[in-house]
């Protein structure tokens, strides 16, 4: 974006699609940085935080959530039109989120089981990320996003520079933090080698394996990873579940999860 002068603060809008609000909450969790943030941008549309609404267009839009309904399909186009720059936040907006588990199942069937009046529920067959529908300027990963990364992305936007958001594995952060690897030293399965950094290796720091909140790293060898997981005691259904947690529909994770699904011959759906 163009260089920003203090006389007119750029406007920021925050939009929600199918999601849990956790990523927006990370913005509110910025606490100490909220005042400098409101000095740097005009928070023009953020229903989670304020009722005040400034009419669009907006300089920067943050979009949380995935596209799951016919209405979403239209609304995301409007958001795109109203936004100078569009940044998605979180796993849902990136690859469809946990709700993308529906991509592997028959939506009509479980809709009829779950709801008393399934005919009132209008929903799409698949949950998809924002970039499948409109042009996205930057995707910030995480379930939820990391607030420091969010501030870094916003600072980079304001200053017209590249955000410092790495696309390598969680292992890099894990080692930089001085952790002892939970897989090597304890035999605990960990998805860190194929997962993108961003959380600061939160789970391994507390002696747990990584769950893959930030989705695939830029060079994910998910097949070799599956062998490592299995060597450390995970059976096939566990491997499927690990790949199908927060980024079930991410290409690399989806494909690998399908390779470990029920034996050949069992009917299954692909997304």
């Amino acid at each position: 974006m163009a260089a920003v002068t203090k006389s007119r603060r750029p406007t920021l809008a925050v939009w929600k699609f199918a999601s849990c609000d956790g990523c927006q909450l990370q913005l509110l969790n910025c606490e100490d940085e909220l005042i400098p943030l409101s000095g740097a941008v005009e928070i023009a549309y953020f229903p989670e935080a304020t009722r005040a609404v400034v009419e669009g267009p907006y300089d920067v839009s943050l979009v949380e959530g995935s596209i799951t309904t016919p209405e979403d399909l239209e609304r995301i186009q409007q958001v795109r039109e109203m936004s100078g720059r569009l940044i998605t936040i979180g796993a849902c907006a990136t690859t469809g989120g946990i709700q993308a588990l529906r991509n592997f199942a028959d939506v009509a069937e479980f809709r009829s089981v779950v709801y008393a009046h399934p005919e009132y529920v209008s929903t799409l067959e698949r949950s998809t990320g924002i970039a499948e529908h409109v042009r996205v300027d930057f995707e910030l990963r995480g379930c939820p996003i990391d607030k420091n990364q969010l501030l870094e992305v916003l600072a980079a936007e304001l200053q017209g520079r590249r955000p410092r958001v790495a696309t390598h594995s969680v292992c890099v952060e894990c080692k930089a933090r001085g952790n002892v690897c939970v897989t090597i030293a304890h035999g605990t399965p960990c998805l860190g080698p194929v997962t993108q950094a961003g959380c600061g290796a939160l789970c391994p720091t507390f002696a747990r394996g990584c769950y893959g909140c930030f989705g695939p790293q830029d060079s994910p060898n998910t097949a070799s990873m599956a062998q490592v997981l299995s060597r450390h005691g995970m059976d096939e259904p566990q491997i499927v579940r690990l790949y199908r947690t927060f980024h079930a529909a991410a290409e690399a994770f989806r494909e690998e999860s399908e390779r470990h699904e029920a034996p050949a011959g069992t009917p299954r759906r692909t997304s």
Partner: protein
């Protein structure tokens, strides 16, 4: 070869300066170092491995612990004796002590007129005394001295930390299954004049008569410290017992790397199918380079706050397994894991020799043990040799 810029002031050190102490003397050594103003670091048990941490008492050290290492696996094990340095090595070498994973190298603040005013960085940690540095890691430290200090613009913070540090190296008695220092000529016993300079070499001797630590001075500072520590003058029995410890360790190396003509072999193997096979297993996770005591690649990153009033530049570890490591205008040169593994191994065991005059591998075995996929550099080299 580029000379090691950290000069070893070992002149005037005589074998008569060497001492032998018992457990109480080991405690005295720690106390003397602390008394001289050093932050004393030594091996401590941490989260199922061994790491360098602050040490005040002998009991802080890994008394009675050993390790089992294999490709993709590290386990601490209880020894059936009270050896203190009876493990082979830990999750990291001394690399993070002298060359941390990230370091602010420049900071700037905007003043009222909008100009950026640089701030000098202060390094208030240390000076460190590091107890328990293995011979392989000492050689790696020597490589870092050459690389980080020998170049035109030396790493300023590294230079300060290294110049002030007191190093107590230790002889290995129980190599791990992943160790291969003997084939690299880097261990298992610290030798003055080889690898980075150090101040004292320690050999732990434990038999029916109890614990003895042979402390050999390798610098004038080391002699001074030994004088203060006291203990008895080392005798022939201490020396011959220490020699047998080394001899037995040499005989129990976990692995072997045939280095004969290895550089040329690697140069001739750029198109080997081995690289495809290893890339099927390699996760491009970077663990190998993060734990390698000689890997020195870094990136420089700039960050600024929201208002753009405060900014800093950080030097962070980088890795040839990172897609961005070879990023030039328009894209990455090494797009595939195959290209990255080939770069890593060819540099480490081959072109490093052209560049710095030594191999880039000191045989510590960490890249083997700490690789989640259990990829073994010695095995990959053997595959190339079989093919040739």
């Amino acid at each position: 070869m580029v000379a090691n810029p950290v000069v070893d002031p070992a002149a005037g050190v005589a074998p008569g300066d060497d001492r032998t102490v018992d457990l109480t003397g080991l405690q005295t050594l720690i106390d003397v170092l602390a008394g001289r103003g050093y932050a004393v670091l030594g091996p401590v048990v941490k989260d199922g491995s061994i790491d360098y941490g602050p040490v005040r008492k002998v009991s802080d050290l890994p008394v009675g612990w050993g390790d089992e290492q294999a490709p993709g696996s590290y386990r601490l094990r209880r020894r059936d004796d009270d050896m203190i340095f009876g493990y082979a090595n830990g999750a990291q070498s001394v690399k993070p002590v002298f060359f941390p994973a990230s370091e602010v190298i420049w900071r700037g603040l905007r003043d009222a007129e909008g100009a950026v005013v640089p701030r000098r960085e202060q390094h208030d940690e240390g000076p460190y005394a590091v107890v328990g540095v293995r011979s392989c890691d000492l050689h790696a430290l020597g490589i870092h001295d050459t690389v980080l200090l020998g170049r035109r613009f030396a790493d300023a913070s590294y230079a300060v930390r290294r110049a002030d540090a007191f190093v107590v190296a230790v002889s290995c008695s129980d190599p791990a299954g992943t160790c291969f220092c003997v084939s690299m000529g880097t261990g298992p016993r610290p030798t003055a004049g080889r690898g980075a300079p150090f101040d004292l070499a320690m050999t732990e001797l434990l038999d029916a008569t109890g614990h003895r630590f042979l402390l050999e001075a390798a610098s004038e500072r080391g002699v001074e410290v030994l004088r203060e520590v006291g203990g008895r003058i080392a005798d022939e029995r201490d020396r011959s017992d220490a020699a047998s410890v080394t001899e037995s360790a040499v005989g129990r190396m976990g692995r072997w790397l045939d280095t004969e003509g290895l550089k040329d072999l690697l140069y001739a193997s750029a198109d080997s199918p081995m690289w495809d096979e290893v890339a099927d297993r390699c996760l491009s996770c970077q663990n190998c380079t993060m734990v390698c005591p000689t890997c020195f690649c870094t990136d420089v990153e700039d960050v600024s706050d929201l208002a753009g009033d405060s900014m800093q530049r950080e030097r962070v570890w980088d890795s040839c397994f990172d897609s961005q490591h070879s990023y030039l205008h328009g894209g990455s040169v090494r797009r595939t894991t195959k290209a990255r593994y080939r770069q890593w191994m060819t540099h480490k065991l081959g072109s490093w020799i052209d560049q710095f005059g030594t191999s880039g591998c000191v045989g510590c075995g960490r890249c083997i043990a700490w690789c989640p996929a259990g990829i073994d550099i010695t095995e990959q080299a053997a595959v190339l040799r079989e093919e040739s």
